[in-house]
């Protein structure tokens, strides 16, 4: 009973914390703290938080494997879904608010500009992950197949980081930071994998 309550509290706290960036954008919008180009500022922040939640969603597994702490696994799905939510808002903000759903322009973006195409493909790959995030889908697919499908998250991380790299004009320090974080998370997984193979 106590453990259940604890998990409930952890989940509620994670949910609230994950909403903070969005709430901050709303407050900043109302108090005029989004700078001279608020549309661009919101777009950039949504993109930043997409990659951040993607990275956060990749942390519980190695924490469980290496430190034998189980509770982060309980919020892994939520973190992944927040990555999807921020990614979707990011894309809708660009398509809807920035470009006003001008389909001609959006088609041009997706076909002529590789950094836009990569970002869009990354979002597409997140869709099946969000859809199959329920317990029902884990059962339907079988755990192993479900697990294999959800390795797409690594592809999304790579594509999302490339999208960020290609967008920058000169200062690539922030995309580089994400590349380093994702690289570390991949490395830890690789070590876990090889250790399990040899033992």
């Amino acid at each position: 009973m106590f453990a259940r309550n604890k998990i409930r509290i952890i989940k509620a706290a994670t949910f609230l914390l994950a909403c903070v960036p969005l709430a901050k954008m709303a407050v900043d919008a109302l108090t005029g703290n989004l700078g001279a180009n608020p549309i661009e500022m919101v777009l950039n922040r949504l993109g930043f938080w997409t990659l951040t939640f993607l990275a956060l969603s990749l942390i519980p597994t190695p924490v469980h494997d290496w430190l034998h702490v189980a509770w982060p696994i309980k919020v892994r799905r939520m973190l992944g879904l927040f990555a999807f939510a921020y990614a979707t808002l990011h894309m809708l903000w660009y398509a809807g608010v920035d470009q006003l759903f001008d389909l001609h322009l959006l088609a041009e973006d997706a076909t002529k500009r590789k950094f836009m195409a990569v970002g869009f493909i990354a979002w597409l790959f997140l869709v099946p992950l969000a859809v199959t995030s329920t317990d029902g889908w884990v059962r339907r697919l079988g755990y192993l197949r479900w697990k294999r499908l959800h390795r797409l998250a690594y592809v999304v991380a790579v594509l999302g980081t490339i999208h960020f790299f290609w967008r920058e004009k000169a200062d690539t320090s922030r995309p580089f930071l994400f590349a380093a974080v994702f690289g570390l998370l991949f490395l830890v997984r690789a070590v876990t994998y090889f250790r399990s193979q040899t033992s």
């Binding site: 001279a36 549309i39 500009r113 290609w166 967008r167 000169a170």
Partner: protein
């Protein structure tokens, strides 16, 4: 009985600018109203700094409304201070604009070092209201204070061998800490063909809104070339070199496929990563069409007759 006390203060009064635009704001709907209202509600910043004496004013932006002082001085690309747009305004204090000398070199009658105070006395200051189109597809309308570049060129008497002018920004990583990181090859170099430099629209700015130019806008002396993308407008100039060869300009050297030497505003030639057909005027919600040569085509197109502007982007 307690006496009535008003719960509204001066702060609650709708700013005049917002009040005057109330119909426009309502028409734009919620999203538009937010972007319009928010900056004006939060900080209706008045121009600051020492006032400059302006001899005459020339409006060259088709009567369009000015971009607010806060936006012009708070949204800056000045990588030598910081690579984002909000930080330069906060960190500009590290740039010391006095004493300041501008070194004139190369193919001129007399190479010399000019103190900025001397330079300011050479020409009467005028205000020029220009559109400014950034290569990143946003734009502003800015009241610059300064003097025509042509006047300086004439006074310096370039030799017949001077075909280009190269400008150089101060290199001092203590004052401009962004130069500690190799984002571009420092110092920043920009340049113009001599006939571009002597065009009446080419301008050297020492002020904004009739006030001394703030550091983040390129104090104490910056270039303004309104028919070109904003990155041509080199900031905090310390060297002007007249030369025979085309200068290796900073952005063109760093990404030759994305930025050219000419960098004339051209809605038909896209940046590889975004369209240049439209732009967002800062303070507005809807994007507008970008004009060839930023709307100055009639005055400058003859400079480029016979040139392929797709190749010479």
């Amino acid at each position: 009985m307690r006496s009535w006390r008003p719960d509204l203060t001066e702060k609650d009064v709708t700013p005049k600018e917002t009040y005057l635009r109330r119909r426009e704001i309502l028409q734009m709907g919620a999203a538009g109203a937010t972007t319009l209202l928010v900056p004006s509600l939060a900080k209706a910043g008045e121009p600051q700094g020492q006032q400059l004496t302006v001899a005459r004013k020339i409006e060259k932006a088709g009567g369009e409304g000015l971009t607010s002082w806060d936006s012009v001085t708070g949204y800056n690309n000045f990588y030598e201070l910081a690579s984002d747009k909000e930080s330069p305004a906060r960190s500009a204090g590290s740039l010391k604009v006095r004493p300041w000398t501008v070194s004139v070199e190369g193919e001129v009658k007399q190479p010399q070092k000019i103190d900025i105070e001397t330079l300011l006395r050479w020409f009467p200051l005028e205000e020029r209201i220009y559109r400014m189109r950034c290569v990143e597809a946003w734009s502003m309308v800015i009241p610059w204070t300064g003097f025509p570049l042509a006047d300086l060129v004439k006074r310096l008497e370039p030799t017949s061998r001077a075909r280009f002018i190269a400008f150089e920004t101060l290199f001092d990583p203590e004052q401009l800490p962004g130069q500690k990181r190799p984002l571009l090859s420092w110092p920043y170099i920009e340049g113009l063909r001599i006939d571009e430099a002597t065009h009446p629209l080419a301008f050297l700015s020492v002020g904004l809104y009739g006030r001394v130019l703030p550091g983040q806008n390129g104090a104490p002396l910056r270039l303004v070339v309104p028919w070109k993308y904003g990155f041509k407008g080199i900031k905090s100039i310390v060297r002007i070199t007249f030369q025979e060869t085309q200068p290796k300009t900073a952005w063109a050297a760093s990404q030759p496929s994305e930025y050219g030497f000419y960098a004339n505003v051209n809605p038909e030639v896209d940046h590889p990563r975004w369209s240049q057909a439209r732009e967002r005027r800062i303070g507005e919600f809807l994007r507008r069409k970008t004009l060839p040569f930023n709307g100055y085509a009639d005055e400058v197109v003859s400079l480029y007759s016979g040139m392929d502007l797709r190749k010479n982007f």
